[in-house]
Amino acid sequence: MITVAYVIFWILLLGATATYATPDSWLRVLASPEIRHATWLSLVSCTTAAGFALLLAVPVGYFMSRKSFCGKAWLDAALDIPIILPPLVVGLCLLIFFQTWAGKVIEKAIPFTYTVAGVVLAQFVVAASFAIRTMRGTFDHLSARPEDVALTLGCTRFQALWHVALPAARRGMVAAFCIAWARSLGEFGPILVFAGATRMKTEVLPTTVWLELSVGNLEAAVSVSLLMVLMAIVVLVIVRRTGEKV
């Protein structure tokens, strides 16, 4: 009963939002060059951030799942820091880091502050934590026994990971990528603080909603929000179909 009420509540929320803008205005808004650019940048930056998050999450998740060592609980908690930090604080931390000596050296090679690379980094920092958690859960559910047997059959530790653990974890990898992607799509605070909200440059869809709301263009804000809802549903369907359980 409570579940049904909760689902109905969400259907009403989305229904009300969906009926706020007419299809004509929706298409008109989505055809504007600024919003098309923001959509394109969101797709590219989310995919890039999720890809990097997965590249980090697989070895870190595997290590955290398979190894026991002193201080593991502390390291585990440290990996979750981006999840519990307020988003604006994440952005502020990034901004301050790139003012330090180390940050300035990195900036000389790849400029991050107020650039598209900064958008990707801000999305990556938070998304990676979710991807790591998902991959760790995936490897926790997979027995280490087949990898042990692979070692006796001639594998190195890396070959056992590559030939045995990773194929078995492929569904978890898809889920981790999708979760990182969806999380990146909704990221707003760190991007606003670290990469800015410059139209046709660092503007992504959540920034568009905020920019349109701030000038009172509710119709555009609603249209973009609906586009994001649609994208989130597509990702959710992919996660459900591939199955989070391995």
Binding site: P146, D148, V149, A150, T152, L153, G154
Partner: protein
Amino acid sequence: MIQLEHITWSADGRVILDDLMLTIASGTYAVLMGSTGCGKTTLLEVLCGLRRPQKGRVLIDGCDVTSLEPRERGIGYVPQDLALFPTLKVYDQIAFALKLRGLTAAARVRELADELVISHLLDRQTETLSGGEKQRVAIARALAASPKFLLLDEPLSALDEAMRGEAAAMLQRIQQQHQLTVLHVTHSQAEATQLADLQLRFERGRVEPVFRPF
């Protein structure tokens, strides 16, 4: 020949292997018995290199292999849960070790499949197999690496009474055909009596010979 010299292993303050000594001569079918949770699996893992002992040495044919990786020991291992690779078909399970070594797999896989009567299963995913079929696939997979030693952790425990006798006969045939030194872990005295050249009992972290028929 397998020799364990003064092997010690403890975890969480509990001594599991306590200055353990063991010698198994080449070509012997040794059966190790002991109560549940006494450390038989730990012993097998120390032997095949999955655990490094805190003290002591593992010798294979007189060479100290204590610091060698599992892949360098020439020991085949069939764990109790069989640990078949979840994404591979039966053919690829058996071909796994051969492909790793860059060898042509097809002929050897067919040969092993014929020997273990699983030729008709080569295209199957392992989750569709029965317990007995899975067990034979796991043994074929281990044999494909041409080990000199084979460690079997309760290989017959998942089989029903009717299949056990047949499976035990198969293990004996394999040992003789491949000239293997086998260490077989079980709870069953009947299994030990049927198979063992050397019966061993694991108690309080140590292994003692029970019976040596000659």
